[in-house]
Amino acid sequence: MALRELRERLAAEGLEIPSEEAWVEAARHRAHSPWFVAVLAGAGGWIAALLVAAGLTLLFRPTDAGLLGLGVALVLGATAGRLFARGPFGIQLALAASLAGQGMIAVRLLDDVIARRPGPWLVLAGMEAVLVVVFADPVHRFLSALAGAVFLRFALFEARLDPWAPGALGAALLAVWAAPGRAFRPPAATLRRPLGYGLAVAFAGAFVWPIVEPLVHAGLEGAERAAALAAQRNAAAAVAAVALGIAGARALARLRITLGSAAGTAFLLGGAGIVAVGTRAPGVPAALAIMALAVEAREPILFWIGAAAGTGFLSWWYYDLSATLLAKSALLAASGLVLLAARAFVRRRRAP
């Protein structure tokens, strides 16, 4: 919704609103830079953090305890610095110093990761959760949300709670994007988008793990392991189906479309087909859930995150199918024709 439409609707409801000049000023304020500026700042921050961390380590050659202390000091100093930083150098330095500090803490805590304990991963996930809130920077918040979700993923893996990971991340994603707008009133207003983007990438990434993990541990198959992998895939498929169902049902309810109507029936049929695909490729309905949330939230960047993830998962699924190229070719063409037929049907229904 554009600011002008919002202003008109608030005025129509008789609510007290500021002058048009104040709205123009707010439009100019634009707390968020374009996405590519955030990418530049984030990528630059990461590389600078690596250089700063390596430089400090080489200069001071700290002990294990010293490394942890230096890391904590850097994170605390950067968080405080970011609160007061007004100039561009201070803001970028705080970002790089915080990332460098987090890297040092992670290196120290995960030093004995071979012990396969979830504790260090949980500590890191907790640290990132705190930083999402207190480090008032959109790029840092995105990176912290993503890193926190990844650390949580590994904590669950070490605790042998793998199947819960997509569900936990899906619940967090829905909580952020399906929450009413008033849930993000100031000062939390700047939280929603970086946190939501980070969780979306992490949620999509959670469906990459069941693909990657069997490849990493190839040759270690056994009955117990096969059962664990099957449980992981089934849980992921269930989570993806539920997420897609919630995202779709939310849109239908808002648009006042009943399940008995033509659009509702099409949603049920399409959803059933997607969920069927999801039993073999859970990432596909998960990506579609992100795309549905994006359309509902009018978030183009979120939509592209979902579209990119969906393309990747679908490509992998076709590639990984135990079928001849001829069968794959037929399946690809047939599914494409089904989508094109669905489009033609929708257009005909909507034609005056």
């Binding site: 430089g55 330095l93 008033r182 009133r185």
Partner: protein, 317 residues
């Protein structure tokens, strides 16, 4: 003049309004409200069209990747030629001024390449790969000209790039000459697109020229970085050309045609080169401290770039 109040209502923007009480809650709720049925239908329409067309095309490609040795060569050529003619005729029937027609024209252009590959396979023409891609570019050109569809032009330019790279490999042209060739080709395509976008409205979408800005600068950046780390035999002309191209891009896309994406790409390329150059020199001068100094220099460069881009963004219409 662009209306500033057409800016999307985000929570951050609403926070800047300093609304209170019920007005604030209602504004936040309304801003988070989803779009109407028409918008949903438009998104569904485009998603189904693009996903459906890509799946069908992928199916066609998989079909030709299948070991179809049992088919007679006439059958093979007939199937592809039939697909090419079918998509071409359908594109004309629907009209290349509509999205569906443009997607069909793109499919026909892609099938033209498949036809050449099948012909080469069936008759063992002995042609090099670069010749196949060159001929494909020639055959696809009329479709691209007719469809006036940026995505099809992106495909055409990708084919041209592939032809150039394969030609350079086949003739042992060398890394430097290849970099010059690819940079010049993509740079010329970029300049032509920007010039033609003035009179031609369909070329004003910024996606392709943005991709071309990366495709033109990257072949200059890689050898420039190699020169900065004193790799032997790399010409010093690359950094000069890179910096000149970045400067030209900044001047044009800040002052003449405001496009902050291209400005960000040019700044990123210049920063990458400058940081590697500084890091290499400081490593010799400052020892262990050189890495830390390089990190701080990078912080400064990115800070300046982000600060400038933020100012330009606020001043953009």
């Amino acid at each position: 003049v662009t209306d500033p109040l057409q800016t999307p209502a985000r929570p951050e923007t609403i926070a800047a309004l300093r609304l209170e009480g019920r007005a604030l809650e209602r504004a936040l709720d309304l801003a988070a409200e989803g779009p109407d049925r028409r918008t949903w239908a438009a998104v569904l329409d485009r998603t189904l069209l693009v996903a459906g067309a890509l799946l069908v095309l992928s199916g066609v490609v998989c079909f030709f990747a299948w070991n179809w040795a049992d088919l007679h060569r006439f059958a093979k050529l007939g199937i592809v030629a039939g697909g090419l003619a079918g998509t071409g005729v359908a594109a004309l029937a629907i009209g290349v001024d509509r999205l569906a027609g443009q997607v069909l024209a793109s499919a026909a252009a892609a099938l033209a390449g498949v036809l050449l590959a099948v012909y080469g396979q069936a008759y063992q023409t002995g042609a090099d790969s670069w010749e196949l891609f060159g001929a494909w570019a020639l055959l696809a050109l009329p479709f691209a000209l007719a469809a006036r569809f940026p995505a099809l032009w992106a495909l055409w330019l990708a084919i041209v790039n592939a032809a150039l790279l394969l030609w350079a490999a086949a003739w042992d042209v060398g890394g430097e000459a290849t970099a010059w060739l690819v940079a010049a080709t993509n740079g010329a395509a970029w300049a032509a697109w920007e010039a033609l976008a003035v009179p031609l409205a369909w070329m004003r979408h910024r996606a392709l020229p943005r991709v071309l800005s990366i495709a033109a600068l990257a072949p200059l950046l890689v050898p420039s970085v190699a020169w900065a780390v004193r790799e032997q035999g790399v010409s010093g002309l690359f950094p000069l050309a890179l910096l000149a191209a970045c400067a030209a891009a900044l001047a044009l896309f800040v002052r003449v045609r405001r496009d902050l994406f291209v400005v960000a790409v040019a700044l990123a390329a210049a920063i990458a080169f400058a940081t590697v150059l500084a890091g290499e020199r400081l490593d010799h001068v400052a020892g262990d401290g050189g890495i830390l100094l390089t990190g701080l220099i990078l912080v400064g460069e990115i800070a300046l770039a982000v600060w400038w881009l933020a100012i330009l963004h606020r001043r953009s219409p």
